[in-house]
Amino acid sequence: MKSDKFNFEDLKKEWKEQESSVPIPDDLNKIKKAQTPIDKIRKNIKTEMFLMIISVIFLMIVPFISIYQISGISELVYYIVLFLLIISAVPYYKSFYSYYKNTNHKTFNSYRSISEIYYELKNTIRLYKTINYLLVPYGFILFFIVLSKGRSEKIFEIIMNLPDSFTHENYGYFAALMLVILFTILAIFLVGIWVSMFYGKHLKELEKILQQFEEENE
């Protein structure tokens, strides 16, 4: 079998003449959009935002539910943490919302388009991690207060009276506190790993394409 070279000028002619039999949709509303990495992260943040609103509403009324026995210093800590949670989350979701509205870079030249998507994805991942680092501890403190059914008040009193309160009969409370701190650190750590694994791979792919562009410019 004799091998030969392509004649690109011939190929160009054939390229133009080739049949392009692809169906064109008759209803644009039926077009399914694939989930790009940015779409996935947007969808996740939107779901989380919705859950956050529901959670905040629920958390605001929890102290009024007598079975949770939230009173005294626990109630004060509870509302301070809830307030901090809300004021941390609002700017984050606000910036996400403006980002969500502005990301249509498909009409820029390719290098600019990919660069912008890359940096937006990078920033979104960073923001996503940051907010989770903030919200996870707040969430744990709130749920600790809710689930401890009144015993959290005692723990806060013990913390406020340290080091005098570090006595044998309080060891159980310290153990519970350590457990909450450990779970919080673990949750933060897992969120970081999950975000890097899930979205980091797309960031690497975009980085690879940008490198391919930069090779052209060497």
Partner: protein
């Protein structure tokens, strides 16, 4: 409604771009169809930005290529199996080849192009569409000189691939 009709008519006229890009960037029919849908989605969602600013084809090249460049491959076993079957079918076709030379050359090209990276595919696509080095550079956001140098390298790379694949003229 009128806008949608106008858009669909333009899309019908330029559907060759959809076909060629999807065939170059995806190696099985299922993924090609998905990429075409994605391109149409982005074209339609940014159609308001386009209106009156440039020719439809210039704008479509840009949106379609940018979509193809940022489309990430699915990691599915089915996809790999289909690729393997497609390759087998392709080889069988080559062996009992009664194909016209035209079909043969394009078939070989589409197979060889799968070995190029995404940016190389974009460059060779725009070249085959008849764009000048300057136009290619503008579309991709690189310099004209680099478009020329890189295009020559890609042509050489394609020649090597097709020789390795046993292309017969």
């Amino acid at each position: 409604m009128e806008k949608e009709k106008q858009f669909l008519a333009l899309l019908e006229k330029h559907k060759g771009i959809l076909y060629k890009i999807s065939r170059m960037y995806e190696d099985n029919e299922e993924n090609q169809e998905e990429l075409r849908q994605e391109i149409v989605y982005h074209l339609w969602s940014s159609y308001d930005d386009f209106l009156g600013k440039s020719s439809f084809s210039t704008w479509m090249y840009r949106v379609a290529l940018n979509t193809a460049l940022t489309q990430f491959k699915k990691e599915s076993k089915k996809s790999n199996l289909e690729v393997a079957l497609n390759e087998e079918a392709f080889q069988l076709k080559s062996e009992v080849s009664n194909y016209e030379e035209k079909e043969n050359q394009l078939q070989h090209f589409y197979k060889a192009v799968q070995e190029l990276n995404k940016v190389e595919k974009a460059l060779i696509f725009l070249y085959l569409e008849g764009m000048s080095h300057k136009e290619i550079a503008t579309q991709l956001g690189i310099t004209e000189g680099n478009a020329r140098v890189k295009l020559n390298r890609i042509k050489d790379k394609l020649q090597e691939i097709i020789i390795r694949n046993g292309y017969e003229k």
